[in-house]
């Protein structure tokens, strides 16, 4: 080192920011991981943006594709269910989308998260950053997509002049939070397991197919509720499917079956109409609590598998 050095670099030890990075045998704890992710939030943003950018790169319509998807659902399902199957759910397309968009966010988020580490092999092998960032960015992208698709739903509400249930509107916040929490809980652990067993991503497709039909998105929750009621079982049991609280909340708020009160169609929504805001909130709380438990266990497993991710890829 010569004395003629024009400007000597100040190691960050003497700047305000003093970072000590440790790599030791023990996996970092849950809270430490949370802090690290917070420190790398900017990367989370960049990777989320990357996901969204790449998806429609080199396509002429680009982001419009995101909007066309729910629009198509709206049109096709309205025709099939309302005209051909003569469903007695009015504005069937709006009903379907109310539940479907949240489900889509969940399923694409988890699917994207699962393949996020295997799909970024070179990155994981060569650079360190909190690995959870990868599954979380896939979930972030799904969340952003959700907001865009939601715009289509809002436009549909305006077009059909159907007001949402304003008094229940705040419930959407915990409903979204629970969806993201579940996506993270499953996505983080599956992303690491998928590195060791690629079966996971294929298995997941089947699981989501079954799960979708076991969730009242295409049909009304009343069909499930009636079935349980006939046997004298509380409808809380249905909440074991943690997506039911989310989907029913969205349907209650966005589709807002209040409009059907006094018509014949109201019979389809006895359960959704007959419950107070607390019922929805409690269901969401149960679902959220389950997600939290799964998240803690999942992160623990993730921490164990993480040690050799770079080698197993």
């Amino acid at each position: 080192m010569t004395a003629a050095t024009p400007e000597r670099h100040e190691p960050s030890a003497r700047r305000s920011h003093y970072e000590v990075r440790e790599n030791r045998t023990v996996a970092p704890g849950f809270l430490q991981r949370g802090r690290r992710i917070w420190e790398y939030r900017e990367l989370l943003g960049s990777l989320t943006r990357r996901e969204l950018k790449i998806k429609y790169k080199d396509s002429i319509l680009g982001f419009l594709w995101t909007l066309l998807n729910p629009l198509l659902y709206l049109v096709v399902f309205s025709i099939v269910f309302a005209v051909l199957l003569r469903t007695d759910v009015p504005l069937y397309g709006v009903f379907l989308l109310s539940g479907l968009l949240a489900w889509t966010m969940f399923s694409t988020g988890v699917t994207g998260a699962t393949i996020s580490i295997t799909g970024n092999g070179p990155l994981v092998q060569k650079v360190w950053f909190p690995r959870e960032i990868l599954p979380l960015s896939a979930i972030g992208a799904a969340l952003i997509n959700f907001f865009f698709q939601f715009v289509v739903l809002v436009i549909a509400l305006v077009v059909f002049q159907r007001a949402p249930a304003w008094e229940y509107l705040p419930l959407l916040i915990p409903a979204l939070a629970v969806t993201v929490l579940w996506s993270a809980a499953l996505g983080i652990v599956l992303s690491a397991v998928n590195v060791h067993y690629r079966d996971v991503q294929h298995f997941l497709e089947l699981v989501f197919l079954a799960w979708f039909w076991l969730t009242p998105i295409v049909y009304q929750f009343d069909l499930v509720g009636d079935l349980l009621a006939e046997r004298g079982i509380t409808d809380r049991l249905a909440m074991l499917n943690p997506m039911i609280p989310v989907v029913t909340t969205f349907q209650r708020v966005i589709y807002n079956p209040t409009h059907e009160i006094g018509t014949q169609a109201a019979a389809n929504f006895d359960f959704l109409l007959g419950r107070s805001g607390m019922w929805y909130l409690e269901n969401l709380a149960i679902s959220g609590a389950m997600a939290a438990v799964v998240l803690v266990i999942g992160v623990k497993i993730f921490g164990k598998l993480e040690a050799d991710l770079g080698e197993e890829l």
Partner: protein, 402 residues
């Protein structure tokens, strides 16, 4: 001043499945049959790197030097021991790791910056510098999939060095790009040093260690052989290299290379003069044989041969594509590539043969050994220079100006 990097008793144990079974079905089916071999890629390594110091990690293929670098970078976690790094770190384990082909150069610079842990604001401030360094002003808004491999490497290097990390980890990447760019990289590394930043350089080139490093750590089969003075390190490294190549049973060496993983590995190399020795008379022929092992079928690849003098001048740098006009095809199992030089026009000296196995796009290297083998040229004549020239000397005398 506290050390920039502290490594205390680091051991990394790998479990190698003889055949990696990736699905549950296969794992269940072969649960018992699948023997798991354990070996220490790193064994109880201690190292302290002072702030502002440049340290070389020297070792031959499979010595564990890259594993140690990955542990420092944090991409793999040690089986036991601790590593502490102070300050912001940028790892150049591969140039442009994390570039996405569909994004433009500009987008990738920002993405790469945030992957390395630097803020968007920081990258914005030095963005022009990065682009200027990479000499990509005209192309920065093009998708990087349209970049040549050289442009790609330049941008990767430019991002990592211009971010001005406190600690820079470099893995052999100085060996890429054309001569001009290599010189630029070296200059940049030198500036880094004068600025008092810490550098960890992984290499198997003793020359680089002597040229660039303050100290060196020599690794052999995961064990630390020497820490300290670079000249001594190079001596220890050469000795270890000879010791291992001396006892090399080709079958064993190839098995070891296969166990070290990777699709295509250099298993060994020899340079043989026409008389069977490793000393060539000027004008005689020499045969350089590269033996490789391909774990799986590699459809096509390129072998590159680099012959350098002891003082680092390249006498030859050519790939099989340059020589044959096509790539090597269907590399599978053990094989060899023979370079036969009919009349070697070099003058006296010792020459190093570097060999590289790379993919046809030359963006990815399967394996390289920058000192795969050596040979000497010896004639005993006192002519100094590089090449044997066909010189006719005419002398006329006896003429006087009137």
């Amino acid at each position: 001043m506290e050390p920039a990097i502290e490594i205390v008793g680091v051991t990394k144990r790998f479990r190698r499945h003889t055949e990696p079974n990736k699905s549950i079905k296969e794992r269940l089916l072969y649960f018992r049959k699948n023997e798991v071999k354990e070996f220490d890629a790193l064994h109880d390594i201690d190292l302290e790197v002072a702030q502002g110091e440049t340290i070389g990690l020297l070792g031959h293929n499979g010595s564990g030097k890259s594993t140690l670098l990955k542990c420092i970078a944090g991409t793999i976690r040690p089986t036991s021991g601790e590593i502490r790094v102070r300050g912001r770190m940028a790892a150049m384990l591969e140039l442009g790791a994390g570039f996405h082909p569909d994004l433009t150069g500009r987008e990738n610079v920002f993405l790469n910056g945030s992957i390395l842990g630097f803020s968007r604001e920081h990258v914005t401030r030095i963005f022009d510098e990065i682009v200027a360094f990479a000499e990509l002003e005209e192309f920065i808004d093009q998708q990087v999939k349209y970049y040549s491999s050289g442009m790609y490497a330049r941008l990767g290097f430019a991002v990592a060095v211009n971010l001005e990390p406190d600690v820079l980890l470099v893995d052999e990447v100085l060996a890429v790009g054309d001569e001009n760019f290599q010189r630029k990289c070296l200059e940049r590394v030198r500036r880094f040093q004068t600025e008092g930043r810490t550098i960890v350089l992984v290499t198997h080139s003793p020359d680089q260690v002597i040229q660039l490093c303050d100290r060196a750590l020599v690794l052999d089969h995961g064990h630390s052989l020497h820490v300290g003075d670079t000249a001594e390190a190079v001596r220890v490294f050469r000795h270890a290299l000879h010791a291992s190549s001396g006892s090399t049973d080709p079958v064993l060496a190839e098995a070891a290379a296969a166990a070290a993983g990777g699709a295509l590995r250099i298993a060994g190399a020899t340079a043989t003069a026409d008389d069977g020795s490793d000393t060539v008379q000027p004008g005689d022929g020499v045969t350089i044989e590269l033996r490789y092992v391909a774990a799986d079928l590699v459809p096509s690849a390129r072998a590159r041969i680099v012959i350098t003098t002891h003082d680092g001048v390249q006498m030859l740098n050519a790939s099989t594509f340059d020589l044959l006009g096509h790539d090597l095809e269907a590399l599978d199992g053990a094989g060899s590539v023979r370079f036969r030089i009919d009349r070697l026009p070099f003058l006296d000296g010792s020459y190093r043969v570097g060999l590289v196995l790379q993919d046809p796009s030359e963006t990815f290297q399967y394996d390289q050994d920058l000192e795969a083998c050596t040979f000497d040229v010896f004639s005993g004549r006192p002519i100094i220079g590089r090449v044997e020239l066909d010189i006719e000397v005419e002398h006329s005398t006896g003429q006087r100006t009137p």
